[in-house]
Amino acid sequence: MPPAREFVLGVVGGASGVGKTTLLNAVSWLDRVNTGDLFKRHMSLASRDDIRTLNWAAFEGAVREDLETAVREKAVRGMRGILIDTHFAAKLNGDAYRIGLDRAEIFSLASSAVRLASDYGVRLQTLIVHVTAEPAQLLTRRRLDESRKRELVPSDCVQALSRNEQCSGQYLYEFARAVRGYGPDEASPPRLTHIMNSDLDRAVGEMKSVFLGQVQ
């Protein structure tokens, strides 16, 4: 029996300012959905930066449904996969960091994705990529980025990086839990890769090798 066609669900996250967008642009053959834009749409705000100071958590369920819809659309159209551009950890009410999507919502999204893949006769491959940077680099990038209103409490850089790293592991756990019980023809075990974006060319190369190996 020929191997199942693969559908790649990429989840790429990291602290604001680590250079995630630049690396995502290197994986241009996969369509992308941004959770910040989804939250913004639901919160009807003019600027994505305003999300940091409001209770976006109230819209998690709605955003998870949007993500499921986006994944379904790509699978139905026979596309190779989709990238979810997100933060593994985000500030709530401009205060402490918490996981970007509640763990129950991550599990629900993952379960939906693997069921969908199974329904359409494709094998789901989940690739979670955590993009990070040295705190001093992130501080400098945030200072120089005048296109967005960045938090410039210096300790915030340290906290943002460490919480995103911690929470990326929780995303992996929930995806792994969701695919448990499915066979290798339906879902491959999810993989988590950490990319340190200190040298852009090297980071782009690492990003491409994560996804190029999966998408033919």
């Binding site: 001093a136 410039l152 210096p154 300790s155």
Partner: protein
Amino acid sequence: MNPFVWTNDPDVAKKEQTALRKLVATEHPDGEGWQFKKGLAIGTAYDENTRRAVAVALEFDPSGRYSRISRSADVEVDFPYVPGLLAFRVGPAICKLLDEQDDDYDLLLFDGQGIAHPRGIGLASHIGVLYGKPSIGVTRNRLFGEALEPPIQANAASPIYHPSSREIVGYSWVPGESTPAIFVSPGNLIDPKEALQLVRGITRPNSSFPTCLARAHGMANTARRQMLRKRDKQDNLGEHDD
């Protein structure tokens, strides 16, 4: 360039220091024997009446010769005097100064502590981390750490130890004959011994303190007094408006 946010809450300030302490490095990426080309001696002052912090920068070279030209900045800062939190009182003025400064300096020198500090991040370390530059703190008073008094002879030095880890966090140093000891601690990207050697190199024989830093500090205090006189003059003019 987006400015740094500075809290005016001492408890939040201490948490900020604890978080930033992780970024302090006590060695230069180029290793031992690293030489600086252009330093900035930063003097600061705070005026309680106007609630303004002043910072003055003087360029200096490896021999300690300093420029006649100085740059200064002053900003309104509402932060109380709390030992160990000087950065939150004068830091905003220093940042305003450095943000307007060309990035062609490779050493910062402060009248303040480096890592010889209760939370390991005095003024010199704090600003060194924010700007990613090597930095050193030199003070006339020891805030933290245990040290034997060095022998009373020119150029004698004794280490300052962290009370728990026993790590060397600075040096107590007698610059000249009959001068009291001063305290040198690395801020960022320099180790304690190199910091001491560097400060020795820029201090004139028999001076009691590195001259460039004493001058910058003096200029900051002069600027503070001028601010106060200007305010008093404006207040007096206001009284005659009736």
